[in-house]
């Protein structure tokens, strides 16, 4: 009971802060995805210095972001999971992608160096379903000839909190494993058949680093920061890759965002020799019926980010959108908002 009350209070508090800041001149408010938070926060700092316009972004989670933009308490909401075009139309919303990121498998197997292990999507699906339960299982050994794999139980570590990272990961597994798709599917939280749940990337990383024989999935930025043992992956073209910004961008470059309605494309398992298989994206959601000045201010901010914020984005492991996509977004703005 106490928890529920606390959450209600927190929701009220968030709504109140957002409401207040929306009244102040020269400020834009947004809320949503925790994944995109580092990027929007960095952009906002520089944007404020250059233009004097404050962008307040509250990382309350994608679900909260969608709820807030529907209620009209914020100027933009951010979600790691795109809304279906039908849902957008129903609520009078539009959405466009912001930046590209990726995630990878991390592990804690004594004797295995970072990047030494090679995994494929179907094998990862079997591991996360509990079908492959030992590190020296034939499925893993077949992909890693010459690597000494211990006879050790695999402990699956997943996110306990709802997360876009989970959505992207499960979406990828649904594409490569029919069994996963039928039994489990993809969402921000899913019914994990096995394993333990850690809170946030930090929780998953700390469990993996602690538990011998553990395997988990975290955002690429987190692997870089913490020098974790990551896996190389076999992509849909059959090539073995290490995770990299180039790989995420290659996945995005392969997608024709210009053809997808409301940019509803998910970047996992894209074709192309250089495409990283578990790439993802964050969407910004706007209300068509919002005051024109509000939408224009939001658009100016993201337009600035697309033009001037790309080196900042790269420095925190977010990949810029391909130029063709940025152009398509501008056309989309013009068409839907007339801005």
């Amino acid at each position: 009971m106490v928890t529920t009350m606390k959450m209600r209070l927190a929701a009220v508090a968030v709504a109140a802060t957002i409401g207040m800041s929306a009244q102040a001149a020269q400020s834009i408010t947004g809320a949503g995805s925790t994944w995109v938070y580092p990027l929007v926060a960095k952009w906002a700092t520089i944007y404020a210095k250059q233009t004097g316009i404050q962008v307040n972004y509250q990382a309350i989670g994608s679900g909260g972001g969608i709820a807030q933009i529907q209620a009209g308490t914020v100027a933009f909401g951010a979600s790691d999971k795109p809304l279906l075009p039908a849902d957008l139309a129903k609520h009078g919303l539009i959405q466009f992608p912001t930046a590209i990121a990726g995630e990878d498998i991390v592990y804690n197997v004594p004797g295995l160096r970072p990047g030494e292990l090679i995994l494929s999507g179907p094998v990862i699906a079997d591991i996360f379903m509990g079908k492959v339960a030992k590190w020296n299982d034939a499925e893993i050994a077949r992909l890693n000839p010459g690597v000494k794999l211990p006879n050790m139980a695999i402990t699956v570590v997943h996110r306990s909190d709802g997360s876009g990272t989970t959505f992207t990961f499960a979406n990828y597994l649904s594409k490569v494993s029919p069994v996963w798709k039928a039994k489990i599917g993809a969402d921000t939280s899913i019914a994990w058949p096995v394993g333990v749940g850690g809170k946030g990337n930090a929780g998953v990383a700390s469990y993996v680093q602690r538990i011998k024989g553990a395997i988990g999935y975290v955002e690429y930025a987190y692997i870089l920061e913490n020098h974790m043992a990551y896996a190389r992956m076999i992509n849909s073209a059959g090539k073995v890759l290490s995770p990299s910004l180039q790989g995420f961008q290659a996945a995005a470059a392969n997608v024709d965002f210009t053809k997808a309605r409301d940019f509803y494309v998910i970047l996992t398992d894209q074709p192309g020799a250089a495409s990283w298989p578990i790439s993802g994206c964050t969407w910004q959601i706007l209300r068509k019926s919002a005051p024109r000045a509000t939408n224009a201010a939001v658009i100016r901010f993201f337009d600035w980010g697309f033009e001037h914020g790309q080196s900042v984005a790269r420095s925190i492991a977010f990949g810029p959108l391909p130029p063709s996509t940025v152009n398509a977004i501008k056309v989309y703005w013009k068409k839907n908002l007339g801005i």
Partner: protein
């Protein structure tokens, strides 16, 4: 005791009435005002509670319509993808982690309280009491981080021993078998026990200290040991307050969120072993609420909150019932 109190009441009543008539109209109106302000405050608290329950029930309605009451309570799947929600694993997790906490915390608290009130040299009493009280002022997020970063890694080293020794006991052995991860139901129960320890201890110590010295001294004079005094004098004399303290601790354990979320392992799958990960109602709400996107999903999470209120009320009800029976049994409840 009863008689003296009644006598005191008789003495007080006429005096109060005299005061009223002597004080005049101003005192009367101030008194009148105060009485209604106090009443309003009391009603406000009750009204808030009712409003919260009504709001939560209203927001859970979509989930109640789909899953019903029984279906939700005994449903074993929690699958946001197919939007199929059942609370059973979390109800079990909440009850089991709280039970472990109570099993560990109650005897420990009793020992500490007896030590402070009966055994400790007087110079030690204050420091030990203060140390215990400080445990209560540590924020629960700190317990969570401590549990995750300090306790769990150490506990993982103990778990193989638990596996080999407790796990080998026929019958209950199945409770103690599992991979040594350091996190799980047992770890959550232990961290919870440390968190509720100060509440139970503080109440026990206060009532033990308040037990009339002549009772204790008479028992000692008759050759009773400290243990006998604790068991036959202290406990029967303070039964009501001690039971109240235990239920206060239990209430806290049932609703604890952050610390449990960090160490319970967060798995929706039921397991016979206490070393395996589980999940509690508060931990699931805290984990999933922010990213719950669909109406039924959010509503099911709120419904979980409603279930937790239900569990808390049942526990409170049991406490009242139990207090009723012990109250009759005890000679002079404080």
């Amino acid at each position: 005791m009863e008689r003296t109190r009644a006598a005191a009441d008789r003495d007080l009543k006429p005096a109060a009435e005299e005061n009223r008539s002597a004080g005049g109209a101003r005192a009367l109106s101030a008194d009148f005002l105060f009485r209604y302000v106090a009443l309003a405050m009391a009603l406000l608290v009750g009204a808030t509670l009712v409003a919260v329950v009504v709001a939560i029930a209203y927001d859970s309605w979509p989930a109640i319509k789909v899953f019903g009451v029984w279906g939700f309570l005994k449903g074993r799947t929690w699958d946001p993808v197919s939007e199929h929600f059942g609370a059973f694993p979390f109800i079990v997790g909440t009850l089991v982690s709280s039970t472990i906490a109570m099993v560990l915390a109650v005897p420990l608290s009793f020992g500490i309280a007896v030590f402070i009130s009966e055994l400790a040299p007087s110079w030690m009493r204050q420091p030990v009491s203060s140390a215990i009280e400080m445990l209560a002022s540590v924020p629960s997020i700190v317990y969570g981080l401590w549990g995750l970063l300090v306790f769990a890694p150490q506990f993982a080293n103990v778990e193989p021993w638990i596996n080999d020794h407790l796990g080998a006991i026929p019958g209950i052995g199945v409770l103690f078998q599992g991979p040594p991860m350091g996190i799980g139901m047992l770890a959550a129960g232990i961290v919870l026990a440390i968190m509720i320890l100060p509440y139970i201890t503080a109440i026990m110590r206060d009532v033990f200290v308040a037990t009339p010295v002549r009772l204790k001294e008479s028992a000692y004079a008759m050759g009773a040991t400290t243990w006998e005094v604790a068991r036959k004098i202290l406990l029967p004399y303070t039964r009501t307050a001690v039971t109240g303290g235990i239920f206060l601790g239990l209430g806290r354990a049932l609703g604890e969120t952050m610390a449990v979320t960090f160490v319970i392992g967060n798995s929706d799958n039921l397991s016979a072993s206490l070393l395996m990960p589980g999940a509690s109602i508060p931990s699931v709400i805290a984990n999933e609420f922010t990213e719950a996107t669909t109406k039924l999903y959010v509503s099911s999470l709120i419904y979980l909150g409603l279930v937790l209120i239900g569990i808390t009320l049942i526990v409170q009800g049991l406490a009242v019932l139990l207090l009723g029976t012990v109250g009759r049994g005890a000679r002079a409840p404080s």
